[in-house]
Amino acid sequence: MVEFLEFTLTGLSAGMIYAAIALSLVLIWRGTRVLNYSQGAMAMLTSFIALEVVYATGNYWLAFAIAMVSGLGLGAVVERIVVRQVTGRPPLNAVIVTIGLLIGIEGLAGLFFGGNNRSFPEPYSPNGLSIGKVALGITRNDIFIGVAVLAAAGLLAVVFQYTSIGLRLRATAFNSPVARLLGVRVGRMLTLGWALAGLLGALAGMLVSPSTLLSPNSMDAIFVLGFTAAVIGGLESPVGAVVGGLILGVVLSYAGGYLGSEVVNLFGLAALLLVLMLRPTGLFSSAPARRV
């Protein structure tokens, strides 16, 4: 029973990170109909920048802030300079362009930061928490992960729901020609969407790097799971992204805990296929199955 609780809590903590990646993918998908395969690589790059700041100043929170800002900037730059060029072309072109970005960014990181695994600082102590004598199997840092992702998701939800800029973002995602006719600067909104996605990715990178160690390829596996989480939740829905991330995190945690770490990806595939067999467009998708 204690074991079960432990696996659940660690699964939720890992799921929060998948949820952050999934959210960033959903943001971009809703706005531009592009699956951003370079999301993980972008997060890796911002984490490296943060690590360099930590080396230089020793201040984690300054590094955290700089990672967030560079995530915003990187997302905006990528949208403006690269992705903007392929809009209106066949959709797979955008996919290949983001794969090109993924390869290019990983190569650049290898060039500047080397290919070795680097340890990454945690803001809070890595000691396990316990209630009375019962160890929970999670740390303060896990709680920080959960709080940070939920706070970011909540903040985004508030921005999208209650602010004028959020309304414009939603209008762009819903129907960009009409939004443009109504005076929304659609191009800027798309850039903003990518920037926000870059920020979420940077957050995920900061949160996951202490446990995975940081290297040019370290975010690949996280990205695949984040993508899976987004597909499970339905690519249209931000709520689905969070729920999908948590489901995936818990399932993988049980599989890894009870059956051994090598079956984890197989259970990821099983969970994904199960959900897609029941609902071919994800759990929270509201779009009609097919249009005539």
Partner: protein, 407 residues
Amino acid sequence: MATPSPTPRQAPPLSDQVEFGPGISVSPWLARSTLLRHAVFAIVGAVALGVISVSLGAYRDFQMATVAANVVAVAGLTVLIGLSGQISIGNGAFMAVGGYVAALLFIHLHWPLELIIVAATVAAALVGAVFGIAAARLRGPYLAGATLMLAVALPFFATRFSGVLGGDQGLGFFITVPGFLGVNFSLSRWQAWLSCGCGLIALLLLANLVRSRVGRSWRAVRDDEVAAALAGINVARMQILAFIVSAACAGLGGVLLAIVVGTVSPGLFTLSLSIQLLTAAVLGGLGSLAGAIWGGALLVLAPTYLQDVVVSHGFASQTTSSSIPIVAYGVVLIVVMLIFPRGIQGGLSRLVGPIIRRGDDAPAAPTPGDDPRAVLTRGDDPPRSPRERTSWRRRSPAADRKEKGRR
């Protein structure tokens, strides 16, 4: 739908038919028989490859063999994506199935090589059928996600059943040169000839399939599933069939790759291999077998070439010499996509096609960047999501006018 109507548009190779070169025009008696024409192309290709192989060294033989293995896998993927309108980011998994089945048959049952190749291809096709049945309900990014996860999850079997499958070490798969070629025939040349031969046969079969009723049905399904269903096409069956064909090609590619490398291991069939297949298919030009050849060659030759360039410019240090080619490859992907939105083959037929083709039948080169609808006058667009499809189906006014003029 079933029989092609003998309109004048049928005669010259339009872009939605498979071309072996940019707008190569053929004499009428060749044009009449598809099989004959493709066979001529295959024989010419075989002779050319043989000459190249004999005149170049052993390392080029190795490269040729690798290119051939990749071309087969990319061709299967380009048919799946470009013609049937489905997507797979997990075809490396089917390659792994082919490679492992072949290695197991080779080690335990000592079957003759040609039988092993056929059996492994069939095995991959069966796995593809199972997955295709599941995939026929999925569209666009959801299918992409499922196939991506397939490629990630598959190495599990290699480690779980490491007694049979050899774990991370994998299985050895060493073929020998058959006796009738003589004692001086090098192994690498035999590998190259074997790979290229299998590759040409696969391309020949694919080219005929694409021009057949099946190929036309795929294109109909890709362009509009509802209209295809109304025309009497079993949409799900066609989609599953496309998956089977694609998986069989991937399986054959996997066997050939295993033969060339000499082992099968999880490290050979990674996720990045699957992604590279997709990249090669799109870069070459979706739906075009000639494009698959470009893409497959680019996949193998670009990294080696970039590596050579970097080394010859004196970047000797370990990090730079391994990282710069990667960066350059990423940049190449982006730049090719920006310059040739329809892939290399699409770009070539746009540049060269109007010069070679004669007369009224040469379709005006569309410029996809300007008006997305104009592209639709030609049949080989990559698939798009159902949501966008409705608004894109209309033809451009110019095409309508042209059509009226014909009538």
